[in-house]
Symmetry: C2
Subunit: 302 residues, 2 copies
C-alpha cells in the first residue's frame, strides 16, 4: 500500500543472482545504488515472472523507518464521483501521505459484517489515508467539498481500519463466494470514470463486482465472482478493457501469468506495437532459448 | 546532487519514444507509475548511451518541491579518514539530508581562489550537507567527533557554497590545466579507503588528482590531468581500478562511452561473468542488428 509514497518494488532491487534455464548461475547488477556498468538487466528480470531465470538471491535497498507517528484519516466520499476528485486534489496539493486506500460501499459493508464493524457506511465507500498529523489535516481540509463524513483516528482504531482493508478479499468471499481480483491501473485523473464503468458492467451482468484499490496510484482491484467467470469468461477481459480504454494498464502489481495474456497482447499491440512485442519475445529467447521456463506465461504466448 | 535523497534519474523515467536503427519508431513503457505490462524495456534503454535507439520523447515522473526551507551545513573533516566516518554515521542514523557533497583540500583551495573565497581551508576538505534545520543539527552533532570545524549557513552564503561545488571543474582547470573527471562508486563504508588509494596514486605519480564527489552515495569524481594522461594513459584505468578493488562500480553517472570500455570489461567479467557480457551484446544485437548506433561505445566493443 505504501508504494504510493515509496514507489513500486522494482525501485528497491539493486542486484540479483539468477539461475538460467541451462543451469548457469549469473549475477546481474551490483549492491550499489548508483551503477552504470552495462545494460540494466536487474530491471529486466524484476517482474519477468520467472520467464528469464530463477532468482536465487536478491540485494535490496533499505531505508530508515519514517520518523513521524502515523495516524489514520478515514474519509467517506459523497459518491463515486467524489473518490476521483479527492485523489485529484491530494495529488495536486503536493502532499505526500504514506498511503491512500479505497473500498467501495459493498466492500465496506462486507468488512463491517465479516471482520469487524469499524467503518461508517455511505454510498461512496471509504478512502483511508495514513500519514503525519499535519498532512492528514490538510488532506481532510482539501477533500471536504467531496465528503459525506470524515474522521481522524489513531492507535488501535487506525490499525483495525487498515487491517480491515488488508482482509478485503476474505470479507468479500464470505459474502459472494470465490473471487478473482483484477489489478488494473488508470491515470489518477480517470479514477471515478473507471469505477463507474466497472459498476456499469456490474449492473449489465446483474452481479456484484466489488472494488477496492490503491487509489493514490490509480490502481484498482475489481473482484470478479468465480461463478460469473464460469458462465461468462469474457467478463474478465471486459473489466481489464476499462483500463485499456482509459489509457491505463492491465496490471499494476499482480502480473500477467496465463490469465491476462490476451489483455497483455491487446495493450502491447495497441499502445506499443508489434515491434515491441517482437523485442520482448526475442529477449525471452536470449535468456531461455529452449523455452523451458514458465512456458505459456507472461510474454511467452504473445 | 540530490540523487542522494531522491534516487538516480532512471527511477524517474516512465516511458520513452525511441527511433530504432532501421528508422522504426517505438514507444516503451506507459506514463503510469505502476505498470506490469511486459518486460521493462524503459530501464533497459535509460543509460544505454544511444546504443539501442535514439530517444525522441520521454515521460517523466515529477514530485512536489520539498516543503522545508533548505539550509546548508558546511562540515570540515579533520582528515580524509574522517570523511568516511561522517558518511557512515549519517547513513546509520536514518537521517535523510537532501545532499552530501565532498571537496578535498586542493579543490577547496582552488574554488576559494578561482571562484570566491567561501570555505574554510583544512586538511580534510569540506562536506556540504543540505536539508531542514533539525536534520542538519543532528548531522552536525553526530559528526562532531570527526570535525575540525563546522558551520550552519543559510540563504545567500549557502547558495554560494553550493555554487562553488558546482563550479569545481572550472576552478580546478584554472589551477592545473585540462582535466578528465573520473566517476567511480564505492560502497559508502569504503569511502575513506578509496580517497586514500587515489591520494597514493597521486603521490606515486608526482601529480595532482583532486577529488570531489557525491559522498552520500559513495560516488567520487577524481580529476585526472590531461597532461598526465598523455604521458601515462594507463593512469585512467588505475584510478578506475580503485573502485573495482573495493567492490564498487567504474561509473555512477557519466557512463562508459569509449574511454571506459576496458574498465567496463574488467568489472563485468570479474563480477558478473562472460554469460552476462554475452547477454548484453545479444540485447544490443536485437535492437540494432547491423551495429549502426554508437559503434564502439558502451557494451558494443566488449
Amino acid at each position: 500500500m505504501r508504494a504510493f509514497k515509496y514507489g513500486p518494488f522494482r525501485e528497491w532491487v539493486l542486484a540479483l543472482r539468477l539461475a538460467l534455464a541451462d543451469g548457469t548461475v549469473i549475477k546481474v547488477g551490483e549492491p550499489l545504488r548508483k551503477n552504470r556498468a552495462g545494460y540494466d538487466l536487474v530491471s529486466l528480470v524484476v517482474g519477468s515472472e520467472g520467464t528469464l531465470g530463477v532468482v536465487t538471491e536478491a540485494w535490496l535497498r533499505i531505508r530508515p523507518l519514517p520518523k513521524h507517528e502515523e495516524v489514520t484519516l478515514a474519509i467517506y466520499p459523497k459518491d463515486i464521483f467524489a473518490v476521483g476528485e479527492i485523489v485529484k486534489v491530494v495529488r495536486k496539493s503536493g502532499l505526500e501521505p504514506d498511503l491512500m486506500e479505497y473500498m467501495d460501499a459493498f466492500v465496506v459493508r462486507s468488512v463491517n459484517k465479516q471482520i469487524e464493524p469499524i467503518y461508517w457506511e455511505g454510498e461512496g465507500g471509504v478512502v483511508l489515508v495514513r500519514g503525519d498529523n499535519s498532512t492528514l489535516s490538510e488532506v481532510e481540509r482539501l477533500s471536504s467539498p467531496f465528503l459525506a463524513r470524515s474522521e481522524v483516528v489513531d492507535g488501535e482504531v487506525g490499525r483495525k481500519m487498515l487491517n480491515g482493508r488488508s482482509l478485503v478479499a476474505i470479507a468479500v468471499k464470505s459474502e459472494i463466494g470465490n473471487i478473482y481480483a483484477e489489478d488494473i491501473v488508470v491515470p489518477p485523473s480517470k479514477l471515478s470514470e473507471a469505477i463507474l464503468q466497472i459498476k456499469r458492467i456490474e449492473v449489465e451482468n446483474d452481479t456484484k463486482i466489488p472494488v477496492a484499490g490503491h487509489v493514490g496510484d490509480g490502481n484498482l482491484h475489481p473482484m470478479l465472482r468465480e461463478a460469473d467467470l464460469v458462465s461468462k469468461p469474457e467478463l474478465f477481459d471486459e473489466v481489464g478493457g476499462v483500463a485499456l480504454r482509459l489509457g491505463g494498464s492491465i496490471s499494476g502489481e499482480h502480473g500477467i501469468g496465463i490469465q491476462k495474456v490476451n489483455l497483455l497482447r491487446s495493450q502491447l499491440l495497441n499502445r506499443n506495437g508489434e515491434v515491441v512485442v517482437k523485442l520482448m519475445k526475442e529477449i525471452k529467447g536470449l535468456f531461455d532459448p529452449k523455452d523451458t521456463l514458465n512456458q505459456g506465461k507472461f510474454v511467452d504466448p504473445l
